[in-house]
Amino acid sequence: MTVLFYICAALAILAALNVIRQRTPVYSALSLIVVLCALALVYLLLGAEFMAVIQVIVYAGAIMVLFVFVIMLLNAGKETSRQRSRLARWLGVPLVTAFLAEILIAVWSQFPPVAASPPPPPDGSPAAIGTLLFRSYVLPFEVTSILILVAVLGAVVLAKKEF
């Protein structure tokens, strides 16, 4: 279990690095899929089996397919190496590093890495999630459905040929 987590974590970080390193969007997308699958495994280790499957079906199986699809459709090649934003160019890396350092400090101070035994894992089965979703989270659920409807309409209108 423990080993598996670190393997997955390493895989995810390496793949994520590859996402931002690659200049060809297809490779970025493929690396991102690897990240997603590695995270799905981590979810499984955390006892969230339903979310793991959803992660693969929806994220890797639908959203990322859309990305790959669009990349293929637009035939997106390598990006050129021009930098116009001076701010991003000079401050980018130091800022990112500082940000990561700050978050890690915050995490370490708030949740010291001692092996305290956590409470029993919640029941992550579809039935439990469904019950919670349709009891406590009905309103967000319905609102989300409207959001999706709007997104669908928006996507159709935006991607239409003639404006």
Binding site: S85, L87, A88, L91, F99, I103
Partner: protein
Amino acid sequence: MNLEVLLPLLLLPPLVGAAVNGIYGRRFSQGMVSLIACASAGLSMLVAILVAWTYSTTSTGPAPFSHSYFTWIQAGDLRADVALYYDRLTLVMTLTVTVVAFLIHLYSRGYMEHEGGYYRFFSYLNLFLFMMLTLITAANYPLMFVGWEGVGLCSYLLIGFYFRKQSASDAGKKAFIVTRIGDAGFTVGVALLFWTFKTLDFQTVFARIGELPPGQYAGTLTAIGLAIFLGAAGKSAQLPLYVWLPDAMEGPTPVSALIHAATMVTAGVYLVARSSILYAHAPKALAVVGVVGGLTALFASTIALAQNDLKRMLAYSTISQLGYMFLGCGVGVFAAGIFHLMTHAFFKSLLFLAAGSVMHAMNGELDMRKMGGLRHKLRITHATFFIATLAISGVPMFAGFFSKDEILAGAYEGPLGQTWLYWLGTLTAGLTAFYMFRALCLTFWGKSRVEPETAHHLHESGFKMTGPLLALAFLSIVGGYVSWPRALGGGEAFDRYLEPVFGPAEEALRNAHVHNPEGLSGGALMTFSVLAACIGIGLGIWWYWKSIDTPRKLAQRFAGLHEVLIHKYYIDEFYNWLIVHPIHILSEKFLWRVVDQGAIDGVLVNGAGEVSTEVGGVLRRIQSGNIRSYAAWVLLGAVLWLLYVLVIH
């Protein structure tokens, strides 16, 4: 089914009808539109009957029924529910309103056939019915106010129905603005009520009025009563706020019949009657109601004497009759006021509808001087108009006689009765009979003065229109029999029926004001009023049947008075001079030039624009349009903020 389910069902059909016709009506055929509208009005009427039956059979005694459906407003102490209230007064009102409304819906099918905006008309009409029923069945003042404003809106929309006509849209605005003055009074009254009683629910307010220490709140209660009466006077076109109603005749005739004769304008009377207990504890305010009512009755009937436009004449007659109702309420016989409200709804809507039928036949001509002799061509219209005229003139055995007589008797011997109010009312009754018979003679009797091309296609309206006329004529005859006067050996059943509603108020009034006029008995009072009516009728027939020479001579003799009457006492001109013109000047000279052009346009609008331009010129440098820069800025912000959080903790 029980009442709490049935009552919303009473309101629902017209709302649904209005929505369906309003949204989809454009695509429907005329038959479909009128079917939906009439069906919803008819359904509402059936439900009203069902509710009345259920209430009468199941409830324990005459106790009012009230049910709160959900909380509508909740702010501090103020709480207004969407709650409906039902007692015998509501019963009478709902039945009257729905029956008349249904008949007028039926009539409109024929009347509006050749007008544009058929679906729009029926949608408004249904919406009006919904609002009117809301007003009647509301269980608290705020909800009642919703209905109150709703009927006002519908009235505005329907007066201005022919909105391409300048005079019609002006009349709509005038009605809206003048009633607005009254509504301000209503609002103030309701606010005062809340301030005094911390609630606006009818039952609670009425209960708490009784518990007040006597005399302590008299001033407040009088203020409340006057403020609320201001609202009622605006809606019911009483002095001094009556000026909108004659102009409101610009709307289609069924609208005049339904809104401006039978239902909406009586809302003020209903409001006063509903608040009867309040007025019983504010007798000064009630006295004002009575005096204003009596004066309005006389005043409007004198104007009606000289009107040549049939509908306008009827409008002044309506104002006069509304004055009667207020007179009844004002002297403390609320039941009589409501009784007259009911009979008046029948015969006045009949008068309007018959006038509409005449108008239909005359190609829209309304000048009575160009009519005459129509009885040969328009037989049914004539017959029904005649019946209604008899009813309004107070001829015995017709509906108006009973109700008017009750009010006059009340004015004499009611708790707040005054002898001079009685004579005022009797004089008005005579005038009413006179001008109504004048109209009858000018329109239907005598020689025809119709212009030849109009006379050519003079025709009786179809059954779509005459049917409702006949139904209303029937009601105008029998409508009064529900309350056979005591003087004729009856028991005034209607009054006794409303006893549970008005009893406490009348009781309180009687206890406080012992008013025992001596002299005239009930029979004598009745005789006087009948006599007045007879004189009026006789004069009317004598002067106007065969020729109109006598009145012409009279008019020449009293040219000054005639001028004044023709110009309706120059009230409109007076208001123009007093209010409209100053506002005009103020608006143009100060508000427009100084406030709008100087302050708002100059400083606020252009100034804001200039400041924005300046500031934007500086800030623009940040907006490079390069999203990666933005991202870096966001990140910088996040880093700094986290740093701050970390340092603080």
